[in-house]
């Protein structure tokens, strides 16, 4: 059994460590509790959930109000897309594990912190790429529907299909914008980089929510369309 070795830090590491302590005490999220950005993001999640609930009940009412609902098969690409989005949540978690580990690593070596950060950023890029592929997949789904002659106004079922997928897509694009913002913070100046993980916590809530929302929409559309 070994007691924890006394580490003598060089000047640069000391500075980084004390900064980490200040900033991370202000961002206890990664250890416990939530930051203001995360509280705000939960509020955003509540609002967006409410909006999609409104659209859901609109669809249910509309379907029941008239006998003109045309059922159609969901394009297969939607299922592939779901897997892509789930994968992006996975890669996001890979990013998180690395970024969370940074403050602990600072005790030992800032080089380790650097590796963790660049690994984390790599996985974040992958997450963003998967998100963009998802959007592309949605466009393919739309093209598929158009090829069958199903447009926005063709039938209430297609109307709701386009409305749901378009709005989810718009929100996901917003999420990709948020991802770009987080990337900018993380790849910023050296003192900032490991520290700007506040925005990362909030961003990951949003991204995972987009994933869960999509799974919900897929189930809804699969059951009703």
């Amino acid at each position: 059994m070994q007691a924890e070795a006394q580490v003598t830090l060089d000047h640069e590491s000391k500075a980084l460590l004390s900064q980490a302590r200040t900033q991370f005490s202000a961002s206890p999220a990664l250890v416990s509790g939530t930051t203001t950005s995360e509280t705000g993001m939960w509020v955003v999640v509540a609002a967006i959930s409410m909006s999609f609930a409104a659209f859901t009940s609109s669809m249910i009412v509309r379907q029941g109000s008239s006998a003109d609902w045309l059922h159609f098969h969901l394009p297969r690409v939607l299922y592939v897309n779901t897997l892509i989005l789930l994968a992006s949540s996975l890669t996001l978690e890979l990013t998180r594990r690395r970024i969370i580990a940074i403050p602990a690593t600072l005790r030992h070596s800032s080089a380790d912190a650097g590796t963790l950060l660049s690994n984390g950023i790599y996985w974040l890029y992958v997450t963003g790429a998967l998100g963009l592929i998802f959007i592309l997949g949605q466009f393919l789904a739309w093209r598929n529907l158009a090829a069958q002659g199903l447009y926005l106004a063709t039938n209430p079922s297609s109307s709701f299909f386009y409305v749901f997928t378009a709005l989810h897509g718009v929100h996901l694009l917003g999420g990709i914008g948020g991802l770009a913002y987080v990337l900018r913070k993380l790849t910023g100046s050296k003192t900032d980089s490991a520290m700007h993980v506040r925005s990362f916590g909030a961003f990951s809530i949003y991204w995972h929510f987009m994933d869960i929302l999509w799974v919900y929409l897929l189930l809804l559309l699969a059951m009703r369309m």
């Binding site: 005490s25 509280t39 609002a47 909006s51 609930a53 509309r62 109000s65 006998a67 926005l152 409305v163």
Partner: protein, 590 residues
């Protein structure tokens, strides 16, 4: 939570340029004043619209000078067509409900005072805050633009019921571009409100200073917080409704439009939609919306009344509980706007019962406010007068709600002036009285000068008597069967009611004129009013522990520590008859 509070202020340093200080400002105090300014402009626009309507109702053939300039089609030779009357009514309702009643008590005063009352240096997300104001401002511009399109504003009411609002040009004047602008404006307004609500909630939860537990927050802060939660969930439903409406109007979908409608000799190409769906979506938003309009005023009155009664608010926990209960119940009652819409009459009971339930917390609040002043040595300054007036008009308006809550009575009273009387009393009068009370109370803090109390008292009494003259007779009109939204009274049973309408019109014009006393007082005091001390009213909450007006970071670098609740008035055994929230004085007896 100290560190997270520091985060907020370190996001922005004091601005230097004029644009950054007064136009695109991140400072919640400037944003609050901007919202107030917007609401002030909007209320005068809305009031002028109501004058035009009232003048037409009293003297239908008298040409109104200048009206033909506003719309040659809608008011040829200054006499408005029935359709133009409906246009003015639509814009009056929309502008008043959205741009006045949602803005002034909530966005304006809430933005200014919520952070200060909890001891924070700014809102949680200052950039979103700035965006929320400019989004709302844009929405206002788009809305006003509807006056200037060729067809004029929409005629479908602030409620914009489908299919009238969903069909388009064929359905009537103002329903082409005018309705499009309306829908787009409201959609933009939703975004602005959502951003604002986000800020209020995050700030209240996360940025309270040391010692400021939730139970020590002033009642106005509680009201803004509950209102923000309601607002978030309600506007999140209105936005989808507007999106579906815009799609029906522009993309040929049929969410709200049923089949077989022939309008203006055209068979409409839509089919299968549900007209009731719009009503459900709209009123699911619409009912919480009216509580968004009234709750901040209730919180404001609960904050101000003890200051002038020099007695603590009776039942502070019950007050907070009732506000939360009203917020919760407000989501269960929307169908009481739809009793005669053709929905299942049994479902009417499902909505009637919670509607009657909601009168319970509202009544408790009213009784607590009234009991607070019982036996008080009242300081009758203008804010106190408006608070007492609030209690009066809230009761007057609330009582008519009991009747409307019952489907059997509503079958008769729906769409009559009885409903108009009810909602004007609770919204237009009670809520606005809360805004007036807040203005006179917080003006010294915001601008460092006192408003003139004599002018304030004139303003109060003329307004108080005036609104009773305007809206009390409307109950009688409603019971007599006077249908609302009519621009002329040609049925023989309505003709004997015309003198009542004339009386109301004269009262409306006079009361409107009295508001210029307020406007003059506001502007004159801003520049020439006597300098205000830090705590002119001897109140307890945190805003009175800083300078008038507060410095950029609200407390001049101090991190405020709170020891008391906001309710320590009439305290015996202390140097004054009140104890401020920041005072560590131990209160032994009362």
């Amino acid at each position: 939570m100290q560190e997270t509070s520091l985060q907020a202020v370190h996001q922005h340093a004091p601005p230097t340029s004029f644009i950054r200080k007064h136009v695109f400002s991140l400072d919640h105090k400037v944003i609050g004043k901007q919202y107030y300014g917007l609401a002030l402009v909007a209320v005068f626009v809305g009031m002028i619209l109501s004058w035009l309507m009232r003048i037409h109702l009293a003297w239908p053939t008298w040409p109104i000078p200048g009206l033909d300039k506003l719309s040659a089609v809608g008011a040829p030779a200054g006499v408005m067509t029935p359709e133009y009357y409906l246009s003015l009514m639509t814009m009056h309702g929309t502008i008043m409900v959205f741009f006045v009643l949602t803005n002034a008590p909530f966005a304006a005063f809430g933005n200014y005072f919520l952070p200060i009352q909890i001891g924070a240096e700014d809102m949680a997300f200052p950039r979103f805050n700035m965006m929320s104001f400019w989004t709302t401002f844009t929405a206002f511009l788009v809305m006003v633009a509807a006056f200037f399109v060729s067809d004029g504003p929409p005629i479908s009411g602030w409620t914009a019921y489908a299919p009238l609002s969903a069909i388009g040009k064929d359905a009537g004047p103002g329903l082409a571009m005018g309705q499009n602008l309306w829908a787009i404006s409201i959609a933009i307004f939703c975004v602005g409100s959502l951003l604002g609500a986000l800020n209020f909630i995050a700030t209240t939860l996360d940025l309270r200073t040391k010692g400021m537990s939730l139970s020590r927050m002033p009642y106005s802060t509680w009201a803004w917080f509950v209102t923000a939660v309601i607002s978030l969930l309600a506007f999140a439903v209105l936005l989808p409704a507007c999106i579906l409406l815009i799609l029906d109007r522009t993309a040929g979908t049929s969410f709200f439009i049923a089949s077989g409608l022939v309008l203006s000799d055209h068979l409409q190409p839509h089919s299968g939609g549900s007209t009731l769906l719009w009503q459900h979506l709209f009123w699911f938003f619409g009912h919480p919306e009216v509580y968004i309009a009234i709750l901040p005023s209730i919180g404001i009155v609960a904050t101000i009344l003890p200051v002038f009664a020099r007695k603590p608010l009776l039942g502070p926990r019950a007050t907070i509980g009732c506000m939360i209960a009203i917020g919760f119940l407000s989501y269960m009652v929307w169908g009481h706007h739809m009793f005669v819409s053709g929905m299942n009459p049994f479902s009417a009971n499902l909505f009637s019962v919670p509607t009657l339930f909601i009168t319970i917390p509202a009544t408790i609040l009213t009784l607590l406010l009234s009991a607070t002043v019982y036996g008080a040595k009242m300081r009758f300054h203008t804010p106190a007068l408006f608070c007492l007036g609030f209690i009066s008009v809230f009761i007057s308006g609330g009582v008519s709600g009991f009747f409307l809550a019952q489907p059997s009575l509503d079958v008769y009273l729906h769409a009559t002036y009885f409903v108009v009387a009810h909602f004007h009393f609770v919204m237009a009068v009670a809520s606005i009285f809360g805004v007036f009370a807040a203005t006179y109370f917080w003006f010294p803090k915001m601008f460092g000068r006192m408003m003139n109390d004599t002018l304030g008292k004139w303003h109060f009494w003329l307004t108080f008597i005036g609104v009773y003259c305007i809206f009390m007779p409307m109950h009688y009109l409603g019971l007599a069967g006077n249908v609302r939204r009519y621009s002329a009274f040609v049925d023989d049973y309505l003709i004997p009611l015309i003198p009542v309408h004339k009386f109301i019109t004269i009262a409306a014009l006079a009361t409107g004129a009295a508001q210029f006393i307020f406007l003059f007082n506001l502007i004159w005091s801003r520049f020439k009013g006597p300098i205000a001390p830090e705590n002119p009213w001897e109140a307890t909450s945190l805003e009175w522990s800083t300078t008038s007006p507060p410095p950029f970071d609200n407390f001049g670098g101090r991190h405020m520590v709170v020891y008391q609740g906001p309710n320590e008035f009439g305290v015996e055994g202390s140097a004054n008859d009140y104890v401020m929230q920041t005072s560590p004085e131990k209160i032994v007896s009362r």
